[in-house]
């Protein structure tokens, strides 16, 4: 397996992980909570997109593939945003002052509920993502990457830059950072803390929806269980980068994608053929364990953040 090829594959995977990891890290940053239902939001983003594409095709809409996908995203993103908003209101807000374990349990419960809801709606089988996007390959120094994958990487980068600028430069971003540091004082400054928290969930869910569609388009399929694994990996990426730190989520996501891809590429050689590339998933969890043991604050994370 060619090294450069693995790096390219890793970058594609990594930029998707990064988008999802941002959702985990934003929510953690603002309320110290792991929103384990976030992976499910990603899955629902993919599922809704495929459904809308089916509806469009049935209605005889015949536009260029990219436009069709964009139209479907225009439905999937708001659906996921509404879902993110609802998740916070239903599962977390009533537990705002409860012990930390309580929202963790509702998060896992909610994740199961959403997964089963998806099974009710979309069944248990893999659903194909319609072949609307260009899968032609481009050659870069002997490694190949599809046009779609190039688009995924650049779109992810554009979205992440946009998010970082919003958080660093706008009034809403400043309010989000202030709320994450000291919600009571942010309230005294006139920040409606509930609104800021809702916005955080909504933005994270929107990013998750886009990432879900990227996954489905890249692998040509989606599945009602896909949210669990991808969510856990993105969570790993967030922890690797330093949970609560936006730049950390980006770095952690891309790094994890590359580690996983290189690992899958070389695991056969490393184990003398004993383990094959389908063991790809073990790398994410090895990373998670190693980080939690040796550097729980992550690569860019500070020591446990102070809270008022």
């Amino acid at each position: 397996m060619d090294f450069l090829q693995q790096i390219l594959n890793g970058l594609v995977l990594g930029s998707i992980y990064a988008l999802i990891a941002l959702g985990y890290t934003m929510v953690y940053g603002i309320m110290g909570l792991i929103n384990f239902a976030h992976g499910e939001v990603t899955m629902i983003g993919a599922m809704v997109t495929i459904t809308v594409l089916g509806v469009l095709a049935n209605a005889g809409v015949d536009l260029p593939g990219a436009v069709m996908v964009l139209l479907a995203l225009m439905v999937a993103i708001p659906v996921c945003m509404l879902l993110g908003f609802t998740i916070e209101r239903v599962a977390y807000r009533p537990l705002r002052n409860a012990p930390r374990l309580a929202p963790l349990i509702t998060a896992i419960g909610l994740s199961i509920v959403l997964q089963n809801l998806a099974i009710l709606i979309w069944g248990r089988n893999y659903i194909p993502f319609p072949p609307l996007l260009p899968h032609d390959s481009v050659n870069i120094f002997g490694a190949s990457i599809t046009v779609l994958q190039v688009v995924i990487i650049f779109l992810a980068i554009a979205i992440m830059v946009g998010l970082l600028l919003m958080v660093e430069k706008t009034k809403l971003g400043r309010a989000m950072r202030a709320t994450s540091q000291n919600p009571a004082v942010a309230g005294l400054m006139g920040v409606n803390v509930n609104t800021v928290i809702s916005m955080t969930f909504v933005i994270g869910a929107g990013l998750g929806a886009i990432a879900g569609v990227m996954v489905a388009a890249n692998y040509d399929q989606a599945h009602s269980h896909m949210g669990f694994l991808i969510g856990l990996k993105a969570f790993t990426a967030a922890v690797l980068g330093g949970i609560g730190n936006l730049g950390g989520a980006v770095v952690g996501g891309i790094l994890l994608g590359v580690i996983e891809s290189l690992g899958a590429g070389y695991i056969g050689d490393l184990t003398g053929g004993f383990l094959g590339s389908h063991y790809q998933d073990i790398f994410a969890f090895m990373v998670l364990i190693l980080v939690l043991v040796f550097r729980p604050s992550g690569l860019l994370g500070e020591r446990v953040a102070e809270r008022a």
Partner: protein, 236 residues
């Protein structure tokens, strides 16, 4: 009509009664101090005034309105600002971002920029450090930042919770000068302090709080010379 009128206010944390039925009033333009020992209920009183803690019973009227049911984030736009105990600066925001948070509810960017410059004139130390994270400032600088941030909120009634706590005497002097200056500009102030002498010296009136109750009140000069206050709070 008083700017602030508190009647029979009681506040409890679970079973612990922290404020046990106090009355106080503050007139437009006054500088009033609330002194008392640690644990007397001063911070709780201030927190209740801005909605951070809900009262058990009693009434609070500010500017003629009942404000026991208003959400915390609405107070600042009504002209009520609290500089909390321990300053409450956002440690991972820069000095300038902290000041801008003070003006969060406002939508007049030009005036805000001008007032930030004004705060920098008042506290040149903050200007030198405007890009620094607030958490890297000294305690005195953080207190200046917290007061500057409160100025940006354009309060009618400013509540200060122990602004001198933990600061060197020379910085305390500076902080009290600023309190007086803000007061002279027409802002009504309720100053909570353990440093009773300094607080009474700058104030018009004072209240003394002991275990959740107001035990004495009157013109600051009278309190300053009363034997009870001298004995309990001035160490004379």
């Amino acid at each position: 009509m008083s700017l602030l009128e508190v009647k029979k206010l009681e506040v409890a944390y679970g079973g612990i009664q922290a404020v046990k039925g106090i009355d106080l009033h503050i007139e437009q333009g006054e500088l009033v101090t609330l002194i008392g020992a640690n644990g007397a209920g001063k911070t709780t009183t201030l927190k209740t005034l801005v909605g951070l803690v809900k009262p058990k019973s009693g009434s609070i009227s500010y500017d003629g309105n009942d404000c026991t049911k208003i959400p915390v984030h609405h107070f600042v736009s009504k002209g009520l600002s609290l500089v909390p105990e321990g300053r409450g600066v956002f440690s991972r925001l820069t000095v300038e971002e902290n000041l801008r948070m003070g003006a969060f509810y406002r939508n007049d960017p030009n005036a805000i920029n001008a007032e930030i410059e004004h705060v920098y004139e008042l506290f040149p130390r903050l200007k030198e450090r405007y890009k620094q994270l607030a958490g890297t400032l000294s305690g005195g600088e953080q207190q200046m930042l917290a007061m500057g941030r409160a100025i940006l909120a354009k309060p009618k009634l400013l509540l200060l919770d122990e602004p001198s706590m933990g600061l060197a005497p020379i910085i305390v002097q500076k902080i009290f000068e600023i309190v007086k200056m803000i007061s002279q500009q027409g802002v009504t102030i309720l100053l909570v302090e353990q440093n009773a002498k300094l607080a009474l010296e700058v104030s018009d009136r004072g209240y003394v709080m002991e275990s959740g109750k107001i035990t004495m009140s009157g013109p600051a000069q009278e309190l300053l010379h009363s034997d009870a206050v001298k004995k309990a709070y001035l160490g004379e």
